[in-house]
């Protein structure tokens, strides 16, 4: 069974999809793992980064996206999980060779609509709204879990906000990576995200869980290197586990959004971001929950 790593933050624009794709490539290339990236974000950026627009559109037209998977499974349409997965994706050469490879469960702009539709369908059963929501989330979580059979690592690229899919991913994840920009509002977002991940109601309850035992790690991203960022990271580290890795604002990371059919080495793809990615990869896979089975 795979280890599940969610990349999540309720706040948008913190680099979740970019980091999810970087980690997918790094894990396949450097650890030789079979990696599935499940794109749960309706923006579908991770899908576009891994297969480009045309292949993503073909998958969408064929009904082979994460939204279709959820819908079909709720409707008990019998099709194997593998039918929804695109294998050997990405434009990194190392990630396309056996045994390490990256696969993709493509994202869909219809995922939010489908979640609403599934909620309505289950609401007919005279259940309380909260109970229906829990039921839908739980089924989604179990459906995502099925993918663990064919992969070593499943990276769940979560959307901003708290959709059913995001909550299902957080419930399923062995560990949650929370990228953040060190600005004032990020502290609020991190506090709330932490309570959600640790399933507690108050900041006091959260403080009662030792930082070393938390199920998440915070990753400072988009760093410019000024003193104010350092202050905020230090403040955040009083309450949350913060990785030693820091991702600076680099053109090489911004350019890595672009997908083309030319296979590249990790060095060509990530250039001067490579040492930072190596550090992130090594640090995140030292996390005990991820270490156990992916080692």
């Amino acid at each position: 069974m795979a280890r599940f790593l969610a990349v999540s933050n309720r706040k948008g624009g913190v680099g979740k999809s970019t980091i999810a794709v970087m980690l997918a490539n790094a894990t396949a290339a450097w650890s030789g793992k079979r990696v599935l990236l499940a794109d749960l974000d309706t923006q579908c950026n991770a899908s576009l980064m891994l297969v480009g627009g045309e292949a993503w559109e073909r998958a969408s037209r064929a009904g082979h996206t994460v939204a279709d998977y959820f819908y079909d499974r709720f409707e008990k349409v019998a099709e194997d999980e593998s039918a929804y997965v695109l294998n050997n994706v990405g434009d990194v050469a190392h990630a396309r060779t056996a045994p390490g490879r990256v696969s993709l469960l493509p994202g869909s702009q219809r995922l939010e609509d489908i979640q609403g539709e599934l909620l309505l369908k289950h609401s007919k059963k005279d259940l309380h709204a909260d109970a229906v929501a829990v039921q839908v989330r739980t089924r989604m979580k179990n459906m995502l879990k099925h993918f663990g059979m064919d992969f070593d690592v499943v990276i769940l690229d979560c959307p901003p906000g708290l959709s059913f899919a995001a909550l299902a991913a957080l419930a399923l994840a062995d560990h949650v990576l929370v990228p953040f920009r060190p600005d004032f509002v990020s502290q609020f977002a991190m506090d709330r995200a932490a309570m959600l991940i640790e399933r507690v109601e108050t900041a006091e309850q959260l403080a009662g869980i030792p930082i070393s035992e938390r199920r998440y790690s915070c990753l400072p991203n988009y760093l410019k290197g000024d003193g104010h960022e350092r202050l905020l990271i230090e403040q955040l580290a009083l309450d949350h586990p913060v990785l030693n890795t820091r991702l600076p604002m680099l053109d090489s990371i911004a350019r890595a959004f672009d997908w083309d059919e030319t296979r590249k080495t990790m060095q060509e793809k990530y250039a001067d971001a490579l040492p930072h990615l190596r550090s992130l990869h090594d640090e995140i896979f030292r996390v005990p929950e991820l270490l156990a089975k992916s080692a």
């Binding site: 506090d191 709330r192 290197g225 000024d226 003193g227 202050l231």
Partner: protein, 171 residues
């Protein structure tokens, strides 16, 4: 052997320009800020000759905490930069620009309490530097405050409000 140039960047560079403009021009504070911001965008790193700075008492008359975060010592880049060795012993210490991030106000308040934070702020004598620290750390202090004790108290209060706001938002 002492290094003859000093590189400034980020907040230290800003602080240097602010002091320079305050000493040599009649610019208003707003105008100074605008120019400093412009210079920060244009200039990645500033290298100062120590000898020149020592002679410039108006610019560098204020000493600062021991460990400014963003100051990088660099040797001269080329022979042209090398100054003649000093013929007389130095009589004045080299002034270091004030680093507004040398004290993490919120962290110190939370880990050491109000008294320890006040104690740390006591090491900053200048009202200008206290105001710079407050501004760079986004701590709101009244514009009418002028004395260091008032500014220190206001910084502590602002930090306490910051912590209270965060706790409230998480509840």
């Amino acid at each position: 052997m002492t290094k003859r140039t000093r590189a400034l960047s980020g907040a230290s560079q800003d602080a240097y320009f602010r002091r320079l403009f305050r000493s040599h021009s009649s610019l208003t504070p707003d105008e100074r800020d605008k120019i400093v911001q412009l210079l920060r965008r244009e200039i990645a790193q500033l290298r100062l000759r120590r000898q020149q700075r020592e002679g410039d008492a108006e610019v560098s008359k204020e000493a600062a905490p021991a460990k400014p975060a963003q100051i990088v010592e660099t040797p001269p880049a080329s022979p042209a930069d090398v100054q003649p060795a000093p013929t007389a012993p130095r009589t004045r210490p080299v002034a270091t620009p004030f680093d507004p991030f040398s004290i993490n106000v919120v962290v110190l308040l939370r880990t050491g309490g109000r008294e320890r934070l006040l104690g740390a702020l006591e090491s900053i004598d200048s009202a200008d530097n206290l105001r710079l620290l407050a501004r760079e750390q986004r701590l709101s202090v009244g514009a009418d405050l002028t004395s260091p004790p008032e500014l220190r108290a206001a910084i502590v209060q602002a930090a306490e409000r910051r912590v209270a706001n965060r706790i409230a938002a998480a509840s």
